[in-house]
């Protein structure tokens, strides 16, 4: 039996369209569900007050601090390392065995699940280096985790800088480093910033790698050696231990808004970047 190709065509397109719409609906549902339940809880006092009874009542102020400090700390370490790695890969070498090893390492690192980062951060930073559950341990662990993202996006951005710019710069007597500093990096900057934003977004939402390295103290940290609790960790504890579903929704809404904001900012930067290029 042979079905008319017109009907299979129609059926296939319907199914494909349906699958795509369904995927988008899931996303929309998740965001609306969290915001609908969480926004009523969310208010200025929720953000600025300290939690009471382990988060059963009160606000989430200390976790906001943790959520800002840890990604900032991680990015302070990962950004210079990531950018200089990408500069090396894109500007300073041809494809050799070393670059292959570096690329393979980067890809592997990108695929490692966050629980492994958590284990590693715990045994290496917390125990072996004796940093304890602290901002330092958590930040360093997150830095290793986001490093591949920064390397990849920066390398892509650097490779997108037109080669003619480099040629002109060399022809005017610039050294390679001068060319990188004055022409390549300024023009790759928006793409690099996008990678940094995406890394910030990932750090904000991370739980498994953070909970075993930065701990979950609800006190406001006074130094990088203090433990801290991020919103994601707080939310996990509230939800999992059933402390308060109301505050869990409020925290989730804050978390979603923060992550969406950072990601949209990243896409916006990227978009501007691409628009400028063409």
């Amino acid at each position: 039996m042979r079905v008319n190709p017109k009907y299979t065509q129609w059926g296939a397109v319907t199914i494909l369209t349906g699958a795509t719409i369904f995927t988008i609906l899931i996303l929309v549902f998740i965001i609306f569900f969290i915001l609908e339940k969480g926004l009523p809880v969310l208010g200025l006092s929720f953000l600025t007050e300290n939690p009471q009874e382990m988060g059963k009542a009160g606000g989430i102020f200390p976790t906001l601090i943790g959520t800002i400090i840890l990604p900032v700390f991680a990015l302070l370490i990962a950004t210079p390392l990531g950018i200089s790695t990408s500069v090396y890969l894109a500007e300073y070498t041809k494809e050799t065995r070393i670059t292959k090893v570096i690329r393979f390492g980067t890809d592997c690192l990108a695929g490692i699940p966050s629980i492994i980062f958590g284990l590693f951060g715990y045994i290496f930073f917390v125990i072996t280096l004796g940093l304890g559950w602290s901002i330092l341990s958590g930040g360093l662990t997150l830095a290793v985790m986001v490093l591949p993202t920064i390397i990849r996006t920066s390398e892509e951005a650097i490779r997108a800088v037109p080669n003619s710019y480099r040629k002109v710069s060399f022809s005017l007597g610039a050294s390679r480093w001068q060319t990188v500093k004055k022409v390549v990096l300024p023009n790759a900057l928006p793409g690099i910033v996008t990678g940094i934003m995406l890394s910030v977004g990932r750090s904000i939402g991370e739980t498994a790698a953070v909970i075993f390295t930065a701990g979950s103290s609800l006190r406001i940290p006074s130094s990088v050696f203090d433990s801290t609790r991020t919103m994601a960790v707080h939310f996990y504890i509230l939800a999992r231990e059933g402390i308060s579903s109301e505050n869990a929704y409020g925290t989730a809404a804050t978390l979603i808004i923060a992550v969406l904001f950072v990601n949209l900012l990243a896409y916006y930067t990227m978009h501007r970047f691409i628009a400028k290029r063409s």
Partner: protein, 251 residues
């Protein structure tokens, strides 16, 4: 006669392909040497050999010697960065760097560590004037170099080279994409500049070579067929290939 470049037995390869074949050529100082020939004849490769831009391409190999003022520029002790400061190049397509007109002009000078504002200002005015561009852009030096017309961009690229106060200027089909007015402005500029600089002009346009160059060399498939005074090349070429090309019977 003052010889700026003396090229001896120069061959250049990219990978397995040979782009220049055993070229011998002397380039006089304070003259314009026009280089003509069909595409693929090795004209641009010759320019790349004079300021060692060729070596930025992968798998480039150079044989023979290029002497500049009697010094071998390919010797391992020769400072390539210094060479490129002395031998400026204007590419076929105008490529302003994505920065202001002002910063484009002073780019090379700043690299050498000159940051004195007054000195840079003077240099910008002088270079843009020499490139016949000053009057058109003097009120908008902070405008991005990408936002002026193609003809203006090409003169900006020339000004950028002039600001380095080089000894020689190489031009690789500088007016291939330009309108006749911009082209004539560039030619006017070159005519004045040859008093100070040695100029090598690669062009696809034989009329342009006839108009402004003092000497002309004809290249074909990597070989230099003939070189002589422009008048001689265009009126009484010694080789049949040259005659075929300039009278349009080529190919």
């Amino acid at each position: 006669m003052n010889i700026k470049f003396k090229i001896e037995n120069l061959s250049v390869y990219f990978g397995k392909e040979q782009f220049l074949n055993n070229v011998n050529l002397e380039i006089e100082a304070n003259k314009i040497l026009g280089i003509i020939g069909p595409s693929g004849s090795g004209k641009s490769t010759l320019l790349g050999a004079l300021n060692r831009m060729n070596e930025l391409e992968p798998h480039c190999r150079t044989e023979g010697t290029v002497l500049m003022d009697g010094v071998d520029i390919n010797s391992s002790t020769y400072d390539v960065i210094n060479l490129r400061k002395k031998v400026g190049i204007v590419f076929a397509m105008p490529v302003p760097l994505p920065m202001s007109i002002y910063e484009n002009v002073v780019y090379g000078v700043r690299l050498s560590g000159v940051n004195d504002k007054k000195k840079l200002d003077e240099l910008v005015e002088k270079s843009l004037t020499e490139a016949f561009l000053w009057n058109e852009v003097k009120d908008r030096l902070n405008l991005s170099g990408l936002r002026i017309s193609g003809g203006q961009q090409q003169r900006l690229c020339l000004a950028r080279v002039l600001a380095m106060e080089p000894e020689a200027i190489l031009l690789d089909e500088p007016s291939s994409g330009l309108d006749p007015i911009s082209t004539s402005k560039i030619e006017d500029a070159l005519n004045q500049l040859k008093e100070k600089y040695t100029i090598v002009l690669v062009t696809n346009n034989t009329k342009q070579a006839a108009r402004i160059s003092d000497n002309t060399a004809y290249f074909l498939l990597g070989d230099m067929i003939e070189v002589g005074s422009t008048k001689q090349i265009f009126t009484a070429p010694l080789k049949k290939e040259t005659d075929d090309y300039i009278t349009g019977r080529f190919g």
